[in-house]
Amino acid sequence: MMILFLILWPLATALGLYVLRPANAKVVAFASSLIELVVSLLIVIQFRDQDAAMWTYQVPWIPSLGINFSVGMDGISLLLVLLTTGLVPFILLSSFKMPNQKSANFYALVLLMQMALVGVFTALDGFLFYVFWEMALIPIYFICLIWGDESRVPVTFKFFVYTLAGSLFMLLALLFLYYQTPGNHSFDIHALYKAGRELSTFQQGIIFWGLFLAFAIKMPIFPFHTWQPDTYTVAPMEGTMLLSGIMLKMGFYGLIRWLLPLVPLGVKEWGFTAIILSVIGIVYASIVAINQKDFKRLIAYASIAHVGLISAGVLTSSKLGMQGALIQMISHGILAFALFYICEIISTRSNTRIITSLGGLRTSAPILTTIFVIVILGTIALPFTSGFVGEFLLLNALFQYNMILGAVGGLTIILGAVYLLPAFQYMMLGKNHAPGADIADLTRHEKIVLYPIVVLVFVIGIHPDPLLKISEVAVTDLLEVFSTFSANVK
């Protein structure tokens, strides 16, 4: 029942905001997201993986077609739900003092997005999963279209068509599996699992690509990434945060929940190719990032690089990779949020995001600089930061999978330093390139947003165990199933 609350509550608030349009919509939205966070924390406290039945909820939705409104949580879902419910309040809070105040519709859309995301992370029915998957796309498209920068119209449209194209092939793959289920057919995840695992290697390979395409576009993996830098750049700050902080995790979640256990032989057959694509993405995006002049665009490319490593880790289908991916998803969400927020703070105060026209901001904004450096060090995975735990596990998994790929993937840390540190140096240290461009330091409001993030970066970095524990049982179970069914190959 609590899961149902997590899905319906943001929806209810969003509708309320749209219909009643209160003057202080942002406060209402923020309060709503806090309640959501509290409920999800309550779930974390009570959560035991053993009594799984407690964490599912099912009612018939379209019984004649075997479609149920079936949601449930295991440790993996819980971590991602926690990321969603935890990050949305921060995203809302960060928008409070921005110069462009947004209307009630904006906050309604953000909450709708939250509902769809929680839905994606908990759906246990193929059809429901697809519906939530698409529903997440609509609000973010409009957030970017209405509140985005100059060239938003064509850019956001490209984003929409790209992701829609991917998900239509996912729908086709799911439909094909649906008709493999016995009797009157069913979209239930276990029925689909069973049907998928009985297919031949060739068929599983086709399903693999149908699903992988959708997930790869969402993350995005090279060469399906072309929508991403433009969209991240023109989207309003909150939109970028939602996209990179939470939405791209839908792709990984898809890999973990809807690909590995569904077509184990397909993964066995094609996983290596997919990992190579991911690793190419790491190197490619890092090199492109080095040459970026716009800091927001630089972070966008950095995101592609990090995403490549996570996807490679998941596809190794090892416990290390999976756990590393989960922790890295959380860490990446937090750090991406912080980076985009800092980027927005700097660019609204100095009216530019071009790295070379900034400089020497440290003298006028020491606290901002300190926080900025912590976030950057977290992003390039310095020990004792959250980024380190995830990347370490992921690289370890990749090494065990294949030495060469591991070595190439390891470049992500080095290249991360290569593109982030000089940018930081240029913007914050050294001479002030544009005289008179001193900026004010963090306001109290901004400190309230950023301090908890810094604390989280360190807490997760030093003591990641609690998070790892949440997902451990689920990951072990999943891999056990995976190895049983992928070992069946002749």
Binding site: W61, I62, P63, S64, L65, N105, Y130, V131, E134, M135, L137, I138, F142, L145, I146, R152, V153, F157, F160, V161, L164, A165, L168, F169, L171, L172, L175, F176, Y178, Y179
Partner: protein, 457 residues
């Protein structure tokens, strides 16, 4: 049957109201009459009623579809008071619309080729006049003329086809024809197939599928917008219903002989209509092509499994009609305020009138097949049946063309939200109410599709 009489009566009442001078209440009378007629039909749900020596049969299919026709017509009347008010032709127009509905009901309840023909003609002749009802507009006259010429041509094909089928099977009666075909499927004369294909061409004209669609964009764009809305909802339901009754029920025993032709028609319809729609700068014209394209998806479901398609067909048509009413309704209001239906008038609608923009967006998203709106589930059920029927390549084609569809459906959305505008646009509360209610229906139907699909058992 009673419904048929009531709607006929409504037509005569509207003609009399000119003489007896009670034009003021006419609009309300018609709406009430339609609702009453619909309720009357539903009462017979569990017992199929036969009339005139089985020439008309009100079975569940006929009841469901004639109810849908009347309900949509009633909603259309609520949306369209301005088409009737302030004009000296109120009564003629109301009567013509009522007779169109009569024709529509006959087209979904016939059990005899003669009734089919009568239904199509009653519907078409009224429509020819309605298409030209904006007498001062050059385009409206053109539309009426074009529609009339093309329509009568198609009728000729249909009639010739019926005659040949009669010659081969010895009956006008649908049930008897089916029986005969089932019993003699391998000894049918060649001219039976000629008749069948002539009928296919005739009805394909009426449901406007490629390559028999040439009249549709011009007629849709030239007619008064509200009449276009009527044509793409009520008339479409009736025509598709007739197509289903003929080709999925009557000619079911010989389905193999025309399946490949229908597949060619579907392929052409999906490709040509969707691609041409991309190049339209006039939203009305774009919606016309979109309406052609939608029939392509419907036919895909029909060839996949005609027996199981009744429920999804009803759902598809209901969702399409609801969505079209919203889209055309908003378009009409903008058009009457701005005097144009080109894409430019949509620029910045979100700042001008957020309510209209959001309703229009939901309608367009539904047409494009984006969940959770009704249009998504309609398309989904068609694709699902096609996957089941092993038409995988058609499914991939349908997916690609619906991506093309996203391109043109999003043009107005991008204009509405992507640009900003300073002036405002006001809708009357009545318009807001009906458009809002229909939009809500799109969402509800998308969320609870089972309630409608399972109606057809």
């Amino acid at each position: 049957m009673n419904a048929l009489l009531i709607v006929c009566g409504l037509g005569f009442i509207s003609l009399l109201s000119e003489i007896l001078n009670f034009k003021k209440g006419l609009h309300a009378i018609v709406i009430a009459g339609l609702i009453a007629a619909a309720l009357m039909v539903v009462r017979d749900w569990n017992s199929a009623a036969h009339y005139f020596n089985d020439m008309l049969i009100f079975d569940q299919f006929a009841i469901a579809f004639s109810c849908l026709i009347m309900a949509v017509a009633a909603a259309w009347f609520c949306l369209a008071p301005s088409y009737f008010i302030g004009d000296s032709h109120q009564t003629d127009r109301t009567a013509l619309i009522a007779f169109t509905i009569v024709g529509g009901i006959m087209m979904v309840s016939f059990n005899n080729m003669a009734i089919l023909f009568l239904g199509i003609e009653i519907l078409s002749i009224s429509l020819y006049v309605l298409a030209g009802s904006n007498k001062e507009s050059f385009f409206s006259n053109e539309a009426a003329f074009k529609y009339f010429i093309m329509g009568s041509f198609a009728t000729g094909f249909l009639l010739m086809g019926i005659a040949l089928v009669y010659g081969a099977t010895g009956s006008f009666d649908i049930a008897r024809i089916t029986e005969y075909l089932a019993a003699h499927s391998d000894e049918l004369p060649g001219f039976f197939y000629v008749g069948l294909f002539l009928m296919l061409i005739g009805i394909a004209f009426k449901i406007s599928v490629v390559p028999f669609h040439f009249w549709a964009p011009d007629v849709y764009a030239g007619s008064p917008t509200l009449i276009t809305a009527f044509m793409s909802t009520v008339v479409k339901i009736a025509a598709v219903g007739a197509f289903y009754k003929i080709f999925a029920q009557c000619f079911l025993p010989v389905q193999a002989s025309f399946t490949s032709t229908v597949i060619v028609i579907i392929t052409l319809t999906l490709l040509v209509a969707n691609i041409t729609a991309v190049y339209q700068n006039n939203v009305k014209r774009m919606l016309a092509y979109s309406s052609v394209a939608q029939v392509g998806y419907i036919l895909l479901g029909l060839i996949s499994d005609s027996a199981k398609f009744e429920g999804p067909l009803l759902y598809y048509l209901t969702s399409y009609a609801t969505t079209s009413l919203v889209a055309f309704g908003v378009l009409y209001m903008i058009e009457s305020a701005k005097g144009s239906s080109s894409l430019e008038v949509f620029a910045g609608l979100y700042t001008k009138n957020p309510f209209a923009a959001i309703c229009m967006t939901i309608a367009l998203l539904s047409l494009a097949g984006i969940p959770p709106f009704a249009g998504f589930f309609a398309k989904y059920s068609v694709l699902s049946m096609a996957v089941d029927g092993n038409y995988i390549e058609m499914v991939i084609l349908a997916i690609i063309t619906s991506l093309i569809g996203v391109y043109y459906y999003f043009k107005p959305i991008m204009a509405m939200f992507g640009q900003r505008s300073d002036d405002r646009l006001y809708f009357s509360p009545g318009q807001k109410l009906i458009i809002g209610a229909l939009t809500l229906l799109i969402i509800l139907m998308g969320l609870f599709p089972d309630s409608l699909i399972s109606v057809m058992g």
